[in-house]
């Protein structure tokens, strides 16, 4: 059986793998590269902390955290990453030595970057302080000049000197020192005036003034000036406006109060000397220190930048290695460890067609790691349901996923995704049918498909990703829409006359309205004469409604036949006789009869007969309301045939309702009478196979001791209820879903009318004007027409039609055959790791 088929899911075998301890890691990584095996969790009852490889996982996660930290730093420094070369990603996972080296390097770089960042911060703070000090030194010059100039006006303190001795003696010292320095102008210290100088944020300036005024009761003199440029706050890195202030006050206590208050309001105080010469030397010193710090800062930044650039080169590749490593260890946590043979035992699922590939991979992994022992793979038998695996390629993947979104198919049942490849775009096209709009859709999809290699790695956002994922769906939708547009004869709301209209209108008539005379039938599609006809909608509505019902009933019948395929594959003859045949008879006797009548009525030339063409809707209604009497027969013998069909449909209902439960009950009774008990289906967490050495272990006992679910006996009540629901659903859904297919008509009518209205409102008006005004209006009208066509008619209507087509597949078609009780096959693979970047 060399080829796979998408018609039903593949055969999946349950396998058991033995990995000798030393090759385990590299073998698991090789299995991750081929992505064919899904592993079962054999340690489900242990918590995450008790698993065997917890330490390794933690170590690898630590490295990942450090790499993420590097990534953020690199982003902040705005260094571009070197992208991964996807084609040359090594097939071999990194060896243990490489991971160790990576761990060391990551640690080393983390320490370096942290210390660099810290020193950068400290330097930055120092730098800001020096800048502020420089400003303070410059501005306080003016203050002091002013103060000295006015010092003559300030009165000497009249307090006698026999106050506190302490103050006086210190003041004496200051007086003499200050007096020696300021022989001519009075020094402030002589007058016992001290000052506090500093820098405060502008926002706090007013508050500080008010508070100081109140507390010191006005005994202060304050001067301030604003710094022009905003200074960067080193912590938040945001520019803050600051003011320089200097406060002159009497006495030490007042000055200390002033200091405390200003510091509490967020001011930074600087020691400034009164003497201008000292200030000059201070200024010179500050300038030189600023220069030094600037160069050190520059060096630090350069070093950090170069380290980050080196990291940026390799970061993506390291990230991939580390993530792969973590995935490997997390998978190895699912295995169980056999102490006697020092090997890891794994159980899982593998598609039968891939078993050879897995064999080869195991062998190659052993050869690569130069080990004498290679891993062993056994196939084991199991009662559990295998996962559903459909091998898709880039074309079929999107179609498969839209049906998988409804439910994963049961193991080996017919795959609705295969049928959806054509039916989904075609039902869309019936609702969208416009040659021009379909062409736009086709072009957009063609662009996506032709450029898929470049666009695959581009990140344009989630909506683009969705559109790109469905590019093949869009392509088919566009192609089919062009075909249905041809059949509906609708290109941007206009009809084409490709073959000559088959309706002639009489020439030279005096009548108010003209009626067409038919000559033949327009070969492909709708005759263009209907476009200008007043009663065009009358004809097209009838056509499209009947088209919808015919296509709908055929789609439902086809889906019902898929259920027959399923029943035959699973060899359940009872289902065929009890479910399929009554269902099919019911559907056919009413609805297939209806579409046969529709087709028959169309094929009769009613103008040649005397009979009135009967209304099919009334025919169907009266078939049920008054069986046996037909007022306007469509064909001879209609009444009798309709009674027969009605009887068949009526018989099918109790047939479908009762046969299966009763037969199952009879068989269960027979089995019980013969002494057989029902088979218990065990829900097993641990290994479902045992080895010879397991006698002493709890392995054997565990299988029996674990929970045993499952029905032992046949429950008639439950089966009966299930069948009642199935019967009611089936019969009611036949009617309701047939009506539901009328949305094919409704949406195509809406689309047609919307595009007609758009044309009439824009271009039709513009064509009616002439002259220069007409040219300008035409230009603008065309722009509006094109934008509205693409945004409303293609995108919006397209999305709406897509949703309706999807609903038709999920509800109307799937309810006829789709069991959807499976679970998906999720192999252990590294592709998710790579795509995640």
């Amino acid at each position: 059986m060399p080829y796979t088929t998408l018609f039903r899911s593949e055969e999946v075998a349950a396998i058991q793998l033995y990995f000798p301890a030393e090759v385990a890691r590299s073998t698991v990584s090789a299995l991750g590269e081929i992505g064919c095996v899904q592993f079962r969790d054999l340690n489900a009852d242990t918590s995450a902390f008790q698993r065997a490889f917890v330490k390794d996982v933690r170590r690898v996660e630590e490295i990942e955290r450090q790499l993420r930290f590097f990534g953020k730093q690199i982003e902040q420094a705005q260094i571009p990453f070197k992208g991964i070369d996807y084609d040359s990603l090594s097939a071999q996972a990194p060896s243990i030595a490489e991971i160790d080296e990576l761990a060391d390097r990551a640690r080393h770089y983390e320490a370096r970057l942290n210390s660099l960042n810290e020193s950068h911060e400290t330097l930055q703070k120092r730098f800001v302080e020096l800048i502020e000090l420089r400003y303070v030194l410059r501005e306080t010059d003016t203050f002091f000049h002013q103060a000295h100039a006015q010092s003559g006006e300030i009165r000497q303190s009249v307090d006698s000197d026999d106050g506190s001795n302490l103050l006086d003696s210190n003041a004496d010292v200051e007086h003499s020192a200050a007096a020696s320095r300021f022989p001519d102008s009075g020094s402030l210290a002589v007058m016992n005036i001290g000052f506090v100088a500093g820098v405060v944020p502008r926002a706090r300036m007013a508050a500080m003034e008010r508070i100081l005024w109140r507390i010191l009761r006005g005994n202060l003199y304050m001067n301030q000036v604003a710094i022009d440029e905003a200074i960067n706050d080193p912590i938040t890195n945001e520019p803050v406006d600051k003011n320089i202030f200097i406060i002159f006050a009497h006495g030490r206590e007042i000055l200390s109060k002033v200091r405390k208050i200003s510091e509490s309001l967020g001011a930074t105080l600087y020691a400034v000397d009164e003497d201008s010469r000292q200030r000059q030397t201070q200024l010179a010193e500050v300038n030189s220190r600023i220069g030094d710090i600037m160069s050190v800062l520059h060096n630090t930044r350069q070093t950090a930048h170069s380290e980050l650039s080196y990291l940026a080169q390799n970061l993506q590749a390291w990230m991939v290695s580390v993530r792969k490593e973590r995935a490997i260890f997390q998978t190895m946590n699912l295995f169980s460890y056999d102490e006697h043979q020092h090997c890891l035992i794994a159980e899982g699922w593998c598609p039968r067609l891939d078993l050879d590939k897995v064999h080869r991979t195991l062998r190659d992994a052993a050869i690569h790691s130069n080990s004498s022992q290679s891993s062993i793979m056994n196939e084991i038998g199991t009662l559990k349901d295998p996962p559903t695996f459909n091998r898709t390629n880039k074309f079929t993947q999107a179609f498969q996923s839209i049906m998988d979104a409804y439910g994963i198919a049961t193991y080996r049942e017919v795959n609705p995704g295969l049928v959806a490849i054509v039916t989904f775009p075609f039902l869309f096209a019936i609702m969208f049918g416009d040659l021009g709009h379909g062409f736009f859709l086709f072009l957009a999809a063609l662009y996506l498909v032709l450029n898929e290699k470049q666009l695959k790695r581009a990140k344009y956002g989630e909506i683009f990703d969705m559109a790109f994922y469905g590019r093949y769906i869009m392509l088919l939708m566009g192609i089919y829409s062009m075909y249905t547009g041809l059949i509906y004869n609708d290109i941007f709301s206009k009809s084409m006359n490709l073959f000559g209209s088959r309706w002639t209108f009489p020439e030279g008539s005096d009548a108010e309205t003209l009626s067409g005379v038919q000559i033949g039938t327009y070969p492909i599609g709708l005759d263009p004469a209907w476009e200008e006809a007043d009663n065009g909608l009358l004809f097209t509505n009838s056509l499209k409604m009947k088209l919808s019902v015919v296509i709908g009933v055929i789609h439902m019948t086809f889906s019902l036949c898929l259920s027959l395929v399923n029943y035959r594959f699973f060899r359940s003859r009872l289902d065929i006789v009890a479910n399929f045949i009554p269902g099919m008879l019911f559907l056919c006797s009413i609805f297939v009869y209806l579409i046969v009548c529709i087709l028959y009525k169309w094929s009769v030339d009613w103008s040649m007969t005397d009979a009135q063409p009967p209304s099919l809707l009334n025919m169907l209604i009266y078939m049920f309301l008054s069986p046996g009497t037909v007022d306007e027969p469509l064909y001879a013998g209609q009444a009798q045939i309709q009674i027969v069909l009605l009887l068949i449909a009526l018989v099918c209902v109790p047939w479908m309702l009762l046969m299966k439960p009763l037969v199952l009950r009879r068989e269960a009774n027979k089995a019980r009478a013969a002494g057989y008990e029902g088979i218990a289906v065990a829900e097993q967490h641990g290994r479902i196979s045992t080895s010879a050495n397991d006698h002493e272990e709890e392995g054997v006992g565990a299988i029996i001791a674990e929970e045993i679910h499952g029905e032992e006996d046949f429950d008639f009540g439950e089966t009966m209820i299930h069948q009642i629901i199935h019967t009611i659903e089936f019969c009611l859904n036949c009617v309701s879903h047939t009506a539901s297919y009328l949305r094919l008509w409704a949406l195509s009518l809406a689309h047609n009318q919307l595009s007609k209205v758009l044309w009439d409102m824009t271009l039709s008006n513009a064509f009616g004007m002439s002259g220069a005004v007409g040219v300008i209006v035409l230009f603008m009208a065309f722009a509006m027409w094109l934008i509205l066509t693409i945004s409303v008619l293609v995108v919006m209507e397209g999305t709406s039609a897509m949703l309706h087509s999807l609903r038709l597949h999920w509800v109307e078609a799937a309810s006829k055959h789709f069991q959807a009780t499976g679970h998906a096959f999720t192999p252990f693979t590294f592709s998710a790791v790579i795509d995640d970047l």
Binding site: L418, W503, D527, S542, L547
Partner: protein, 75 residues
């Protein structure tokens, strides 16, 4: 002259084409996909064409439009 027989002829042609697609679809993993896609496409396209054609064979209403030369007498 087009008539009801056109439908039967085209039906035969579609059946023939479907058999051809079934037999000559490219072998390999995707043979089922090729077969299903081509045959379903042919069937759907035929159905849609056939219904439209059949509806216009003997239509019950004729197109009616306003007479543009109503009220204008011929010279």
């Amino acid at each position: 002259m087009m008539s009801g027989f056109t439908i039967v002829i085209v039906f035969a042609a579609v059946v023939g084409l479907s058999i051809g697609c079934y037999l000559f679809s490219p072998k390999g993993d995707n043979q089922t996909v090729w077969r299903f896609t081509s045959i379903l496409t042919l069937v759907s396209m035929y159905l849609m064409w056939m219904i439209t054609y059949l509806a216009q064979l003997h239509p019950l209403v004729a197109p009616r439009k306003a007479n543009e030369s109503y009220g204008k007498s011929a010279f």
